[in-house]
């Protein structure tokens, strides 16, 4: 299962709400304002570090760069639009809009 989250964890609880439905081995793609969850040193970093124990977490490069997010929580992988397509090919998708 591929979960996509495009909302800032500081504005609403989409990421936390979605996480209740993650199963071990699922994939989470953070994109658009969702990439704010990737940064180290935020109040949400521990939550994301915990997620990484069970799910593979990707972040969209274009969105990271636009927001100047350079300090990523270790374990998060950076992907791009073609990587997104590959993830969609391999998984069922749920967009947590």
């Amino acid at each position: 299962m591929l979960h996509t989250v495009n909302k800032s964890p500081f504005q609403n609880t989409t990421l936390m709400d979605a996480a209740r439905f993650f199963q071990s081995g699922d994939v989470l793609l953070l994109l658009e304002d969702g990439v704010f969850a990737c940064q180290t040193g935020t109040i949400h970093a521990a939550f994301v570090e915990n997620l990484l124990k069970n799910v593979k977490v990707y972040a969209m490069r274009a969105d990271l760069k636009a927001r100047a997010i350079t300090q990523l929580i270790p374990g998060i992988e950076i992907t791009d639009y073609s990587g997104f397509v590959e993830l969609v090919e391999k998984n069922k998708v749920h967009s947590w809009l």
């Binding site: 500081f10 935020t42 636009a66």
Partner: protein, 133 residues
């Protein structure tokens, strides 16, 4: 009878790029700066991300507007504030903030002023109008 100069505050609470609010808000600030008003801008909550140095929107295929913040002081918008708490819970420090102009006398680069929520609240109470973006 001299008309009282209006105190107008802009608050920015949304992150940049995910929506058009922050950009549109910037446009309004630059327009309002042409009028004789006492303008202040406060970045709080996810709005603090708009002031992060090093934003590169090339890959998103949009022009980006972070560079325009560097001209705020040229537009005579001097009162630019950042809510300290919002910045800290996002793991940001003053070093992460971009430059909004240079000091007229010393020509030193100037950054937005980081202040506490209580100071912002006190300023809010003094305004004629507060516009939120």
């Amino acid at each position: 009878m001299a008309e009282e100069i209006k105190k107008i505050m802009f608050t920015v609470r949304k992150p940049p790029h995910g929506s058009i609010y922050v950009y549109e808000g910037l446009e309004v600030k630059l327009i309002m700066a042409a009028y004789d008003a006492d303008i202040s801008v406060v970045f709080m909550d996810d709005g603090v991300y708009a002031l992060k140095q090093g934003q590169d929107t090339k890959e998103l295929g949009i022009k980006g507007f972070a560079a325009t913040y560097g001209a705020l002081m040229d537009y005579e918008i001097q009162k630019v504030y950042v809510d300290r708490h919002s910045m800290e819970i996002r793991g940001m420090t003053e070093d992460d903030l971009l430059i909004i102009g240079e000091d007229e006398e010393t020509e030193e680069p100037v950054k937005p002023q980081v202040i506490d929520s209580q100071a912002i609240a006190a300023m809010m109470a003094e305004q004629h109008n507060i516009l939120s973006f």
